[in-house]
Symmetry: C2
Subunit: 191 residues, 2 copies
Amino acid sequence: MNILNERIKTDGIVIKERILKIDSFLNHQIDPKIMNYVVSEFKEYFKNSGITKVLTIEASGIAPAIMTAAAFEVPMLFAKKAKPNSMTSDFYVTNIYSYTKEENRTVIISKEFLNKNDRVLIIDDFLAMGEASLGLIDLVKQADAEVAGIGICVEKSFQIGRQRLEDAGVDVFSISRITSLKDNTIRFMEG
Amino acid sequence: MNILNERIKTDGIVIKERILKIDSFLNHQIDPKIMNYVVSEFKEYFKNSGITKVLTIEASGIAPAIMTAAAFEVPMLFAKKAKPNSMTSDFYVTNIYSYTKEENRTVIISKEFLNKNDRVLIIDDFLAMGEASLGLIDLVKQADAEVAGIGICVEKSFQIGRQRLEDAGVDVFSISRITSLKDNTIRFMEG
């Protein structure tokens, strides 16, 4: 049984047929039982991928990312929001557009924590337009490291994020795949 | 053996006798081994405190907080940075001054996730002036909930944070207590 789907059915709230509010257990209040389930699925799917590092972006990616890193016994790294004027040559820098907030965010990681020998598992709580994941892929590429895959808790499959990531040649594994929020009803992909 | 102190001795970098840079394992890149150790100490210390919820503030408090919540099998809640104009009656709101960034941050939690029956364990990565913890205490009090204690990964004991929290009547438990960064040397509290 997919306990994340079950929990979304029980506690998810649809707003305007487009926004899914699941902040009671995933991205404001976080239920460790859901995290344990999600992480066990990531571990099973990526167990032979030679993961050396887990990468996410602050803030709501951090909880699933650190628990995934603990399961793989590798370090977790999170991209930090930064002011453009705080840039130095010590950081890899990328820009991520937020459709929700309608603004560009500059995010950074320290160069010392990612290198060409790393095989990176990118983790995030949500996939919709794919902007955050594409930004994280860009950071991995700047470091000449390899993206081993992307693990997503909740994917809005009716938006173009997955397609954009697959077009970038990346393996995307999502625990929950939502096909529609129309009529204020949450529908999931079969199987 | 205190493996957090050992790691700080090995990898901590002192800047200007006042700033301790430990972003290789605690607050940018995060080592799950260190998190597991920290969490096991929190669990032992607060095991009889009747914790119903773990509270922290984004971003770097989230990793130790979710793993502590998993150990106690209770939900974790993190206060979010918010723009003042996004306030509604659905949130508890408080202001936190950052001495590092020299700016005020407005942070919020949804009222629905904290109530008078909660016994809250506040978790953070760093304690220096105590501003973040005092803000989180304020949020707990607005909800008429009770602060069961504060768990800190790294305390700069030569700053006034601990004293301010103790003056507020709160039990503070820190895994690493640093007494001085003078002469670019990291000194720890005995015992």
